[in-house]
Amino acid sequence: MAYLVFQLQGAMASWGEAAVGEYRGTHDLPTVSALAGLLCAALGLRRDQEEEIQAVHRHYLMAVGVYACGPMLRDYHTAQVASRSQLKGMRHATRKDELAFRRTELNTILSTRDHVQGVRYRVAVQADDEAPYPLDALRQALLTPAFVPYLGRKSCPLEAPMAPCLMDVDDVLAALSEYPHAADGSTRRPFKLTWCDGMTPGVESSLTVRQRDRLIHRGAWQYGERTQHVAMLPQEA
């Protein structure tokens, strides 16, 4: 089976959960929709290209190996805004203009944002027969992306090249383990592996969960449920 394998490394990452509001949590690894989004961004698809985006979400299967995922970081975030009624009927060319009211007339919006720190992942992508781009086109897009790739939140940059490789191996675990760009001291096997229904993992599943990250409509922010398999792997001695 052909796989596109690449790595994701960063000091901070945030993989959004369903709820968006005052509290913004994170998973410990990228959701399938986050990875599809990363591919779309690299390909240069825009947020309103609904059909093209849906095709990427539908026709590629993803597996993620977690090699490191540090402690959580909770970031307390405030933003100042003038009230809607104050802004009404005025044009604001810059942020400075927007905040040019007396301090007491500005409101503060609070949010709490979670991140995971010191992350190392490897991702294996498998295409189905109707996939809109061959894996090599995805590889090219990751090497010279149209939009900057990031780890779930724009303030979380990649801290190493993704180094995408095409590999032809039996299963997902082999794809991740034989990936040639292993960083110094990193193990071949991830300590946690997740994969989509329909992939050949090369290990027994420890857990099967339903996860709500299957894209239904990007414009309307609608997501459906999907089956996700998880395996916890013992580390080599």
């Binding site: 960063g10 005025m90 303030s155 940059p157």
Partner: protein
Amino acid sequence: MSDFIQLHILTHYAPANLNRDDTGRPKTALMGGALRLRVSSQSLKRAWRTSDLFQAAVGEHLGTRTRLLGKDVHDAMLAQGLDAQKALEWARQIAAAFGSLEVEKPESKKKKADGEGAQEPDLKKLLQIKEIVHVSPAERQAALQLAASCVQRGKGPEAAELNLLSKDATAVDVSMFGRMLASANEFNVDAAVQVAHAFTVHRAEVEDDYFSAVDDLGTDTGAGHIGDRGYGAGLFYLYVCVNRTLLQENLQGDKALANRAMASLLEAIAKVSPTGMQNSYASRAYAAYVLAEKGAQQPRSLSQAFLRPVQGSDDRSMLTEAIESLQKQRANFDKTYGACSDASLGMDTDAGTGSLQALIDFIQD
């Protein structure tokens, strides 16, 4: 494929509390198992985009500041042979797309005028926008074009056409840092500038400053107020990545304006600090080291250079070692993965080489 400009910046802040968490203490993060001080990207961006430097640099490129756009549109329509009443009505509709008008209803004015005979209505007042608004050259042109097509078809502007006027008015800082409006996503702009959180390159604790204040009018001895406050000092690594292609696109292809924006961004990054608790700490700082890279390759931060906290020694400063780690990490990435950029240029206050102006020239297209 896009052109990326990556900036790696080292800045030293003397004891300060630049960016606070919910308990008022400086923000922190763990990296390589060691605690670091952190300044969030939001805090940095706010300091830059609300700075006088930034405003002065990009402000003049934002177009005219005027209240009289409606008058221009009105006069243009009259010149094209439209009758006065329609010209007034349509010009008011177009001007209202930029801001609310000085006089709400021209009818009431007319009624008043009826009693006293045919008095000339104060056109200037009827067409005047309440606040001075920024009108970009593109917007002004769009307004006049819309006016011309209204005259041609003999029909006033549609609501959708009026919306387009303000959509084109993307401001320089919005083009850079983006905008998300849940209620009106047609105004959303994807940020062309990516800013990471800044970390200290070394292990750093938040320290406690215990303080007391004497009550000048108090009769008892002792403090009138006691408290404590967290602070920290350190050499911060900051990573910024600009998608030049997207920036220029966000600015409707205006290359000169994109260059101008890049220059003011770089200058703000090098010279403007977050404003948190400046009155207590006066920690204004200029960047000590800046490395700029250009290329279409996938951008990557060099923060791994500091996974092992920098320590400094008696004869070598933290800055010297941090610059060395950064350059080594970059060289090693190039060696391992192939060239990660096409060209680069540095400015180093430790060695006294390079200049901000040279960097500004380097990142221009």
